[in-house]
Symmetry: C2
Subunit: 428 residues, 2 copies
């Protein structure tokens, strides 16, 4: 039987999407190596009844561990510790040692930032954050809020609740201490690792893949396969226990052969990592000249640590004047064929390469919208040029969706175009 | 009594964080204007039992409407329609008209992309997607999957379930049709708008704000106030019915006066919108020269439609050679004080302004990590220069967190620095 955990994320700001939850995914990955599966993530606002409902749903679904994030701050809407204590049948008590610890942290923070001190507000906030459920393990603050591991009170049964702060840096910093607590050690005892392998395809339809998987029916025991389409990539993620490794290896070989022309990643590497690896392996450098994406491709190429080994820099050429001044595109060309044209995409790619002295240049020009489209050149029309290694490729894209969609998709397609130049795939 | 909705997001890829849910937040906002509050968002994997649990949790929490997203694709792990039918007590039937509709869409898509046709795989996928619960309203596909509105079957009670596809573009495109269905019309009938107002502060601690709100105790009836700290901004979001408008207006005035020196947004505008508005109002232009953020600031400045009116372009100067060649920073200066220095930040800001012919230049140089830090210049050290309107400001930042954190925070602080140059706030 699998050990399963339920996650409860609190915060109206997460519920309404003003803040994106990064804790659920992080916890899913952190628990997977201990053989623990996430059963569900529930997001509720800062209302005690809703938090209580979500805790009961999690406990009632039979999970072995519940983890909450958020609602530990100093304001009145931060009520997680109190609600969890109520559900676990435990009273709240002031932890004087914790109170001193938090006071010292707040003092140091204020001094660091040169903020004026407000002793009254600070004392009230500190006291609130130092109230803990009786019988809970208290985890030292990474920010200002402590974490808690709250087993059920006497005479009750149910999973322990791990109460963690909302800011990802604080939650992650507290995780090693969580794993040390007796209640969590008991919940994790004797579990075997759950493996996860990922294959990514570019240019295969999900329905084709579904057909391939149907053909493998009866040879997939012990594998939990999920497929999803993201930004044009088909991602196949398989989870399995150690005993099913041979079954997975067989599937892996089938997919690698069937999709030899589209499987750009057989080892879980992202497109970013594949491009970075190929550039590093061959000692090549890249530079960009971006109009409608305006720096997003350069920003993405430098997401990975160590990218200074292959990214020299780039040009953000939003205005036509900048296309001319920075990338050396002739004004006559722009006037003749328009800024959004295959000719300008090519000139941008070559301009980026020449100006930065890079091996590979990428040029992007298009209409991200929502305005600026015409019947001839509609919103979503993007020209993408890639130049280097003795080749120049220009692609015309017609992308659906919002301004943000068009910009984001263009960046992904550009990464794949660079990858195809560096590591062409061919059917075997 | 408020009308409330529960949202159930399916997909192991969302549960494990490989894909970020954008539907919950979008639906929360779309429903708010109809006076409907989101009670909870539950994320479950592609397992029928978990989906069933989440649907029962939502129905049991007393919501008036349940909306699901995802799990309508052609692969075997897409099982939402079937599970919802089971919970609502309805049988599945093939909808022949829908089957033809989907087949035509798939045919057109394949032709568009020039993909080879695979009639057998396509027919199986199409048939699966054309199976609908008996008695459901079928919503025409925006992508290939139809939407469904499934009222409870005869002899049962409970809220209707709206079944929508996972891709945000498809879900959003289908929304007007959702609102037209009888079951949803009944659920929304006679509800009054719920208002939401937002104030944003830069440079105020959350604990100070908590104290201000405590002082207002007794004058806040009918307001649901949530505060959160995001990227250094304190955000105060208040939700209220129309009757509580005067109460909110009073609070708004108190906050505006108390935080005159830090309230950069009193009308819900984001920092991006405040900067854009100030540049547009004064007819000013901006340009960037970025090292460690490598285009992310330029990318963010152009997130908003119409940004070509004030963004001319920028320089991504990742290598020292690029700092010299593109932004005109002297190699002698870089050798003398180092690339990460106040002098180089200033030279980058001025170089960006000069090379692009902009009114305001922003220069960024720092150590995003995880490598490259020294005792003297640790990871997280960033110099930010802003030049224009007769001033040059250089700030030294020491930012905590990961490489991504450092880069993202730098961009936010840069936006605020530009805002302070354009719209200085002063205590009244």
């Amino acid at each position: 039987m699998t050990t399963r955990a339920g996650i409860v994320v609190t915060g109206t700001e997460v519920l309404t999407g003003r803040v994106i939850d990064r804790n659920g995914p992080w916890l899913a990955e952190a628990l997977r190596v201990y053989g623990v599966d996430i059963a569900h993530v529930s997001i509720v606002g800062d209302r005690p009844d809703d938090l209580r409902d979500a805790l009961r749903f999690a406990a009632g679904s039979g999970v072995d561990l519940i983890i909450t994030s958020g609602g530990l701050g100093p304001t009145a809407d931060d009520l997680t510790a109190e609600v969890v204590a109520g559900e676990q049948g435990r009273a709240m008590r002031l932890d004087p040692e914790l109170e001193q610890q938090i006071a010292a942290i707040v003092e140091r923070l204020s001094a660091n930032f040169g903020w004026p001190s407000d002793p009254e507000a600070t004392a009230a906030a500190t006291r609130k954050q130092a109230m803990v459920p009786d019988g809970a393990s208290v985890l030292a603050p990474v920010g200002t809020a402590p974490g808690l591991v709250v087993p059920v009170g006497p005479g009750r049964s149910g999973p322990p609740v791990v109460v963690l702060p909302g800011p990802p840096r604080e939650l992650q910093g507290m995780w090693p201490a969580v794993l040390e607590t007796p209640a969590v050690q008991t919940a994790l005892a004797g579990r075997a690792e759950l493996r996860q392998s990922t294959i990514r395809l570019w240019g295969t339809r999900e329905s084709e893949l579904a057909e391939t998987l149907r053909e493998q029916d009866g040879h997939l025991d012990g594998l939990e396969i999920t497929t999803c389409l993201r930004e044009g990539e088909v991602e196949i993620v398989t989870r399995y226990g150690i005993a099913a490794q041979p079954t997975y290896d067989r599937l892996h070989a089938v997919l690698a052969q069937t999709y030899a022309a589209t499987a750009f990643s057989l080892d879980g590497a992202t497109i970013d990592e594949v491009v970075a690896g190929a550039l590093l392996a061959r000692g090549l450098t890249v530079a960009t000249a971006e109009s409608c994406t305006a720096g997003l491709l350069a920003g993405r190429l430098t997401d990975l640590a160590g990218s200074s080994a292959y990214v020299l820099g780039g040009l953000v050429v939003y205005s036509n004047q900048a296309k001319h001044d920075l990338a050396g595109v002739s004004m006559e060309l722009i006037e003749r064929v328009g800024a959004v044209s295959p000719e300008v995409a090519e000139a941008l790619a070559e301009g980026a390469r020449a100006r930065l002295g890079a091996d590979i240049g990428v040029g992007i020009t298009g209409i991200a919208g929502p305005g600026g489209g015409t019947a001839e050149k509609p919103v979503g029309l993007v020209y993408l040029g890639v130049s280097g290694l003795g080749q120049t490729i220009v692609r015309k894209l017609n992308l659906p969706g919002s301004r943000a969609d068009v910009r984001r998709r263009t960046v992904v397609i550009a990464l794949h175009q660079v990858r195809e130049l560096l590591v062409p795939l061919e059917a075997t």
